[in-house]
Assembly symmetry: C2
């Protein structure tokens, strides 16, 4: 182990404090000031913003961390990134970015001078300006921090496969109470000290949340230490409210932490040590709203929850508040920090590293700069052979798994592709991946274990939150990945994907942010095949959720067979700045399209399957049978076949929809069909029986503006399920072939009478199904053995 780090010199201490004071001054300035940024004249009400918005409480702590990260990064020329968990402390990160110069480089209209400072202040939380949180607009950021819980998982995601990088991560004591954060600490069991970088968590205990003490801040230190050791960390404490002492302790502790990290990496990389080491965590205890007003109106503010947002609320109205604000700002001695032009003085910048070592300038925080195209192999190698539609069956996810295996193999050196999943990769039939890589694992092993590897790039932890957080961090730093998940449980990350989509939406509008690889979901073990688990595992509503979000970002695909899944996945893996949701089965599924047909079909997103209907393309049918999803496609084709047998004169068109956004108007979604395109598929006035994978009303919500909408009848999952057979599931939800035929008979004019007998036959078959299944527990043989007959 390295020697104890030396104390910093008095000069350095003074410079660190100057930097911190400058950052604090700039933070307060952003929250309050419209003008007079350098306080060159006495503060007057009109210098102050009419609406005071922002979060002061966490800012001095973030500033302290930034100052000391600057120092240690500069001293060691160590590449670093910081994830700011309390990202609502936007003023702090903006202040530091401006101080180090990256802000002005990114936004030249906000220069590092008095005019720029005034702009920096004015724009903050001001209409037309910048948001109050760390955001895509903030240089150096990959994490918004408004919704708490994901900072540490993001930090790990950034560190994976970046062996030279140290990712610092400030975890607020509020955020530390969230579930996702509480389990993210276990990422210590998944970080490879050889191939990955380091994560340095800085648990900032300022003691309070919005209105309450924080749990971790109120544990006896021994209990908190036990917790952190239990998570696999070595706690290093910095506590205080005297700036000078805290600077000294923080500098020393940062050195200690970086020394420990270097030692762990050296032991693993050079000495081949394989036992898991306890990574350092810094526990920083400083007052909330430190250096702000101690009291306001006779009640304590500094060091309490009352410092959370804006400590002095009536500055324009109350001369006392105005005086107090001026006193507060001047307490940082701005004249020592900035020259008369408003530029930071030399001492202030002494700790700041240069170039890309600056936290705001790290290319990892603008990951698209580092992205390389993923080597996706030719699909033909993995495509299944289709001599005729429905002649064979494959498990689509297994077919895709072979292709992903090759991607994994072809990135073995580059290490820029990972697959995450909550203990479901094999269950989801992607186990071919293990021929190319292992499952990341740094905890204990037993001889019976399979596929565990220190350097594995399949990541499995039974936490959808952590999977999502890791992957987001990995993607935002420019690498590629896939999240495979049981369909129902992807709702666990509803809120996280909201934030990621919001992030991408804003990022796309910033010219300096380079596109990053898309977030690709493979949702499988879906609603129709929960034979083992039943009702609790049935929820196809994730598309409904994401389709509320920005159409520039969101894509949802329902490939109906193996080759279409390959084509969709290929597209998704090559794409940038999207969230691609791919819903596909893992159970054996009929192969409908050749690889060429699949490509063409997926490129169109929706199309007529002429071979499945009874009318030539271009001729108007009597009815359109449409489907989206693998099981609905099968039921639709079976219904088409029944119609062909029982009602041979009927003109049936079969339409298959892969890209569900095609149904939306072009004005609503860039993939939306034009009106003529839509009408060409669905007709303007013929009944459309649409068999949809999920909740049926989603189709109405997408297609309600279409001319033929009044003729659209949708079947889908209507929350009727239990542990039962695959066919019983579709019967319970009226999505079965017999019901679809009945729907046709009920809706095609004139059929009700003419086809009454056929309808009765369908009804009888459904009744027979009920009796059979209760007796045998299996599906009707005619259903179980069904195959498509051309």
């Amino acid at each position: 182990m390295a020697a104890e780090p030396a104390d910093v010199s008095e000069d350095e201490l003074r410079a660190l404090d100057a930097h911190w004071r400058a950052a604090n001054y700039l933070s307060v300035g952003q929250i309050y000031l419209l003008s007079n940024p350098l306080l060159t004249e006495p503060l007057r009400p009109e210098h102050v913003k009419p609406r005071l918005l922002g979060h002061w409480g966490t800012s001095p702590g973030l500033n302290l961390v930034h100052t000391h990260l600057n120092r240690v990064v500069r001293a060691r020329a160590r590449k670093a990134l910081c994830v700011w968990g309390p990202g609502h402390g936007g003023p702090a990160v903006l202040a530091n970015s401006w101080l180090e110069g990256t802000y002005s480089e990114t936004y030249p209209d906000v220069g590092r001078d008095a005019a720029g400072m005034e702009r920096l202040f004015r724009q903050f939380s001001f209409p037309g300006g910048v948001p109050s949180h760390v955001a895509p607009e903030t240089p150096g950021s990959i994490h918004e921090g408004g919704e708490l819980g994901y900072s540490l998982a993001h930090a790990y995601g950034a560190a994976f496969d970046n062996p030279e990088l140290v990712v610092a991560c400030v975890v607020g004591d509020g955020e530390a109470e969230t579930g996702p954060l509480a389990t993210s600490w276990h990422s210590t069991k998944f970080l490879d000290p050889v191939h990955d970088g380091a994560v340095l968590p800085i648990l900032h205990l300022n003691g309070y949340k919005i209105a309450n003490p924080a749990v971790l801040a109120r544990l006896p230190e021994s209990e908190l230490d036990a917790l952190l050791r239990g998570y696999g960390h070595e706690p290093l404490h910095v506590t205080g409210d005297n700036p000078r002492e805290v600077h000294r302790a923080m500098a020393r502790t940062m050195d200690l932490a970086f020394d420990r990290i270097a030692a762990i990496q050296r032991a693993a990389r050079e000495e081949g040590r394989t036992e898991r080491a306890a990574w350092p965590v810094i526990v920083l205890r400083t007052p909330k709203g430190w250096t702000g007003p101690a009291e306001v109106g006779g009640v304590p503010v500094e060091g309490t929850w009352r410092a959370h947002q804006v400590p002095l609320g009536q500055v324009r109205e109350d001369p006392g508040h105005l005086r107090e604000l001026e006193r507060w700002l001047r307490s940082y001695r701005p004249e020592e920090l900035f020259d008369t032009d408003g530029a930071p003085r030399g001492e202030v910048l002494a700790c700041v590293p240069g170039g890309e070592l600056r936290l705001g300038a790290s290319p990892h925080a603008n990951g698209g700069l580092l992205t390389r195209a993923l080597p996706v192999p030719p699909l033909e190698r993995y495509a299944v052979t289709v001599d005729k539609p429905g002649g064979t069956m494959h498990e689509p996810m297994r077919v895709l798994g072979a292709m992903l295996e090759q991607v994994m193999r072809d990135t073995a050196e580059r290490r820029d592709f990972r697959v995450v999943g909550p203990d479901e990769t094999a269950s989801n039939r992607l186990q071919d991946l293990y021929r190319a890589t292992g499952k990341a694992w740094q905890a204990g092993t037993l001889p019976v274990d399979e596929h565990l590897a220190r350097d594995g790039r399949v990541m499995e932890i039974l936490s959808e939150h952590v999977c999502q957080g890791w992957l987001e961090g990995y993607l935002l730093t420019g690498r590629h990945g896939v999240f495979s998940c049981y369909e129902a449980f992807i709702h666990i990350v509803d809120s996280m994907v909201n934030q990621h989509i919001k992030w991408l939406k804003i990022s796309r509008s910033l010219s300096w942010r380079r596109p990053v690889p898309s977030l690709n979901y493979l949702l499988t073990s879906h609603v129709w095949r929960q034979d083992h688990n039943g009702f609790s595992h049935q929820d196809p509503g994730f598309p409904d959720h994401v389709l509320n979000k920005s159409p520039d970002v969101v894509r949802v695909y329902f490939p109906p067979d193996a080759n279409t899944l390959l084509s969709v996945a290929d597209h998704a893996l090559r794409s940038r700045d999207y969230v691609n949701v791919i819903v596909a089965g893992k159970q054996p599924c009929f192969d409908w399209l050749t690889m060429d047909e699949a490509r063409a079909h997926c490129a169109r997103g929706a199309g007529i399957w002429e071979w499945a209907g009874t009318v030539e393309e271009g001729r108007e049918p009597d009815v359109v049978l449409a489907a989206a999803g693998d099981v609905p496609t099968q039921e639709t084709l079976a219904a088409a076949q029944l119609l062909r047998e029982h009602l041979p004169g009927l003109g049936v068109r079969v339409v298959n929809v892969v890209d569900i956004a095609r149904l939306q108007p072009r004005e609503e979604h860039p993939h939306g069909m034009t009106e003529p395109e839509f009408d060409a598929l669905f007709t303007r006035d013929k009944p459309v029986i649409f068999a949809y994978h999920g909740y049926p009303w989603l189709i109405h919500r997408l297609a309600y503006r279409r001319t033929s909408h009044p003729h659209l009848h949708v079947r889908g999952y209507k929350e009727s399920g239990t542990t039962t057979t695959p066919f019983d599931m579709v019967v319970r939800n009226d999505l079965d072939r017999y019901r679809l035929v009945m729907d046709v008979i009920d809706r095609v004019p004139g059929l009700a009478v003419r086809a009454a007998g056929v309808r009765q036959t369908m009804e009888d078959t459904r009744t027979r199904h009920q009796a059979w299944i209760r007796e045998h527990g299996t599906d009707l043989p005619e259903v179980a053995d069904w195959t498509w007959t051309p």
Copy 2:
């Protein structure tokens, strides 16, 4: 501290083992057998189910825990409940329920005899039978366990305000990796040993998940102990694979744990001890699939992940598997366990307690049995006085807070009402509650703290998951509660509310399950007023999410002012078996309706505000302005006023919708309007400009079947936001009054030309807004100062 517990006798050990073997036998039987339940004849393929579904791996561990809970509950006559985290191990809990007799009491057709055993076996995971997981159908259950993560929070919820109850909670090592579970351990800082019962977590480390080792099972014991101590627990270990030794250790450890619990409660209740004690946690390490096949096809199964579901998969087809299954079943020596009639022998039942002490018979698990009507005070006491619509403003949530304060006061003795929230109760303006109770808190305190109390019934932890889990556990055991949350972040519990709604849906179909109080959400700090936080805090999509679920359970309300909020809340608090989502603002909002009017309006769920329009009720208007939500209502009324000024001849009707499901057809939702009702409000053919609080397409998804749907034009949040002013938010999303007027002009036939000037005025005002806001950072004075003029 109490003396060490004595060892159990040899006789008792034998009896415990008999019970455990019986439960294991019954678990295997459920997974495999259709008939021949007592193996009275050699096992033949036709005795075996055609589809083998279920989870064996966790079952022997659950059976062990149940056996030993039986013993300790019986020995001490201690009321207990158990939450089975690995609820996918349904066979185990069903087996125990059948053994103790509660199953047959609940379902008399499944008697405690050979015929009943055959039914028990056959029905499991069989179409028309019972689900494979612990479910509402399972006596003694309050927790499904299919989606992992919530067991411990549920257990705490059940324990709050049940001082005599011990809630055991089996936490699987898979579940322990989830975020919600990882932070639920911190519930130790919120459990009052005086007024609450005890939670006894049993962390079951069987080592594997579906396909991977479990993280906690692979930590060195010292690290795991540190973690659990860090969570506030005292770990007690039971490890082994020799049944006899494990029984001995488990019995002793259960005694120790119950002794520790009794000692902690005595110290707090009788000796007034206030320092937080370390509650016991049992760490149970036994093999996954223990006592099942050691190997299948030459690979290890017992003690590995391969035991997770069905260890022998080809029993009907493979005579070797059939023989192995028979050997496995006979290894439990069923003839020693059941008499020739199939009834459990005396020794098997020796450990089982009687009556309501049986885990399957606890009234707490059928909480409706214990529910008392909540004393909701007369609303008139809290109602705001409304002399004329829009003449005054109130913060609706603050008004409601006063009413909830009284409910809190009136339940001070009964202790059956709690309010949960993620550190937002005061931010959400419900702080009057603190005049009646404190915030539950058992961690350290400082003099500056406010409202913390050991016995507080406001629960605040910065984890929406834990809030939701606590509340679900509290409600399912028959008590009442409210969850107040920022609107955007309620998506964090999307997946949890899915499961709760599914639970209620099934419960409602079971005659023996008594209705429990509804889960009431107060969603506030909503999308239109995120002045401080901006884009990350804007998501009004929760109604979209829950409205996919069972309409028998889901209710969504948008009260437009303080009095309507009171009325809706009153209804919600009195209701049973619902999930009530109430979306309301916390910012000052115009008061529109008197209390009487509010009651009448809420009872109808949607109605014409004749005073706001220009046509009498019953007369057809030229246009309908509809609104749902407080901000949309304000913009709609402002638009109506603009129309009155600028287009005095126009017939305008104003409709307000509180209960959004009213828009759905009656066949789709029990609250849905009939066709004539809908047409009477919205007309059949006049333009309807609908200002909606959330994503606009939800309204289309609800109303697409309505006659007037083609004339419906909806404005709402379209994902355009940032940190800005309230009025700028509505402008950005085209929901502002000027845009609504333009919509009217664009859609009422003939107005386009006649009102072109008015339209231009509106457009100009919007342009003026843009300029003003960039200059001043505040809203246009005419908007900021606007009031309704009758």
